[in-house]
């Protein structure tokens, strides 16, 4: 009897422990849902005052105007995508190049050097990258294009490219390595060179992983705050080109949330910007995830 009772207690204890661990794991789901709900809840009061369509399509963002306050986020959305696009134009070829180098060309000893370098690059705080944008790339860009200062979209794109590269490289390299060896051997046996095998067989076979890596890098660039805040010049107008100063969604939140009085329309509108930002990055990351996952399941 005694043993039976003890067994029952143990079983109960075990179930309790399992539930405890499970609660901790479900916290991740609750945080994600919580972010969405709380952002939406804080953004809704803004739309009592602001027309939703005007919010999404308006070009002017001037919440502190003494004459007429305007809340249009289109300029900053376009700025965000422009600086992200510029970053990807730089980061995609280099990123795939390095990934291919690491998986197919590099000597194992070279790999042992390059891999930590990439990890270190990923570890540099974004505020330090932004600082380098001001003191290093800014003067360089100003000099090259004969501008009064180099704080513009191009500067932001270069910095974001550097920050997106580690993501693109590591995931692309993983998917290049996941290509079955038999593909490569078949291609080489038919007389293709290693370069031809890489370009015509391995990269197409790993394409979904490479695309996912690019989308993850893109998500990171869209959401990056400190670098664009410091290095793109903060001009809240519709961007004219890569040499004009811009202000992204993230930078607008970072600049204005510190100064805005709590519980005003302006305050709520900033959470509206945050909500739009969250939804965009959520969708980008989710798509990347679905691509990566379908690919992995097919592999198995």
């Amino acid at each position: 009897m005694k043993i039976l009772k003890k067994k029952r207690i143990t079983r109960f204890k075990e179930a309790l422990i399992q539930t405890f661990f499970m609660t901790n794991a479900t916290l991740a789901v609750m945080i994600l849902v919580g972010i969405f709900i709380l952002l939406a809840w804080s953004a809704i009061p803004a739309f009592k005052e602001i027309n939703f369509v005007k919010f999404m399509t308006g070009v002017n963002w001037d919440p502190t105007s003494p004459v007429k306050e305007e809340y249009g986020i289109l300029s900053m959305v376009v700025s965000t995508f422009m600086v992200t696009f510029g970053a990807l134009v730089i980061a995609i070829p280099i990123g795939i190049g390095v990934a291919a180098y690491l998986s197919d060309v590099a000597h194992p000893r070279t790999r042992e050097i390059i891999k930590p370098v990439i990890e270190l690059l990923a570890g540099i705080p974004s505020v330090v990258v932004g600082f380098l944008g001001i003191v290093l790339f800014g003067p360089l860009i100003a000099h090259l294009f004969h501008l009064p200062n180099g704080l513009n979209a191009l500067n932001g794109s270069v910095l974001l490219a550097i920050m997106a590269l580690p993501t693109i490289i590591s995931i692309s390299e993983d998917s290049l390595k996941a290509v079955p060896r038999s593909y490569q051997e078949a291609s080489l046996a038919l007389g293709a060179s290693r370069w031809e095998t890489l370009v015509r067989i391995k990269i197409p076979a790993a394409l979904s992983g490479i695309i996912a890596s690019i989308m993850l890098g893109m998500g990171r660039a869209i959401g990056e705050t400190m670098t664009v805040l410091m290095a793109t010049g903060n001009a809240p107008a519709f961007p004219h080109g890569f040499l004009s100063s811009i202000r992204t969604m993230t930078a607008t939140i970072a600049i204005e949330l510190g100064e805005v009085p709590y519980y005003t329309t302006h305050y709520y509108a900033l959470f509206g910007v945050g909500l739009v930002l969250f939804i965009i990055t959520f969708l980008v990351n989710l798509s990347a995830d679905l691509i990566l996952h379908r690919y992995q399941e097919r592999e198995q």
């Binding site: 991740a28 390095v98 060179s193 990055t281 995830d289």
Partner: protein, 284 residues
């Protein structure tokens, strides 16, 4: 045939160039900051508070503040991260819930850091009434690092051979006893290495703490969890863009950047060496 070989040589050379370009960028960053920040760093710079409207003096309060907020982050993020990883690796079956949990974790790691900042303002600063404080900022960073801690802990748990678990279970140990005696001790150093790497990243974050607790300048160190604090990354941002005489304080900004960078590189290097040695021990 010769042409084919020629194209290959040139192409591989270009790929190698891409890799060396990245190495060059890293070296350029380090060189620029080390050469201009190195002369600023002295014992006084590290141990004194800023003086004269932050145009002189050191960064001691920012170092202390970053250390303290990272401690709060660790207290939140490490236990929850380990517990969640234990569930996912030891208990969870392939159910819909497990898939949703894993999807959420992956997606959380892609949520912009400023969005965590907004979330922290709503939840910790306002709703829970912690105000702008060490506690609010630490909790916000705790949520930010959680997905990294979970992933790193799970990786560490995966390295424990299945036979360790089977041996304990076969001797009649319960599931929890097995985890406690045969799984956790063998993955502990791996878990801590991963957690420390996550904390290093948290220590360098600016956007999440800007509105939840970091202060421009404080005359005294924080006394309790409810106090505001100065932090290295935010101090660098202030010195680089917000200060009234930016050019004059540029050397101080370089010094701050160098301290921050060294802090993070040293932690990264330590973790890398630990991981390397662990891998070697496992192989033997």
């Amino acid at each position: 045939m010769k042409r084919k070989k020629f194209i290959q040589v040139i192409s591989f050379l270009i790929l190698r160039g891409c890799a060396y370009l990245i190495l060059a960028v890293l070296l350029l960053f380090i060189y620029d900051i080390a050469s201009k920040g190195g002369s600023v760093i002295s014992w006084e710079f590290l141990t004194q508070a800023p003086r004269r409207g932050m145009t002189e003096g050191g960064i001691f309060p920012a170092i202390v503040g970053t250390f303290l907020v990272t401690m709060v982050t660790a207290v939140i993020s490490i236990p929850v991260g380990i517990f969640a990883a234990i569930y996912l690796n030891e208990y969870a079956r392939q159910t819909r819930l497990t898939r949703i949990i894993r999807l959420s974790i992956r997606n959380l790691s892609g949520v912009p850091s400023i969005v965590y900042g907004l979330f922290g303002v709503i939840l910790f600063v306002n709703a829970m009434k912690f105000g702008t404080s060490l506690l609010s900022a630490g909790l916000t960073l705790g949520l930010l690092t959680l997905p990294w801690t979970i992933t790193a802990s799970e990786e560490a748990l995966k390295t424990v051979p299945q036979s360790f678990r089977e041996g304990a279970l076969a001797l009649g140990a319960s599931k929890w006893q097995t985890i406690r005696t045969n799984v956790l001790p063998y993955s502990f150093s791996g878990i801590i290495t991963g957690a420390v790497l996550g904390l290093a990243r948290a220590a360098g974050e600016t956007a999440p703490i800007m509105f939840t607790g970091a202060a421009f300048y404080l005359p005294s160190l924080p006394h309790s969890l409810k106090d505001q604090f100065m932090a290295l990354p935010y101090h660098l941002y202030v010195m680089a863009t917000q200060h009234h005489s930016i050019i004059k304080v540029r050397p101080l900004a370089y010094g701050t950047a160098l301290v921050l960078l060294m802090l993070i590189f040293v932690i990264n290097l330590g973790a890398y060496i630990t991981r390397y040695r662990l891998r070697k021990i496992k192989m033997e």
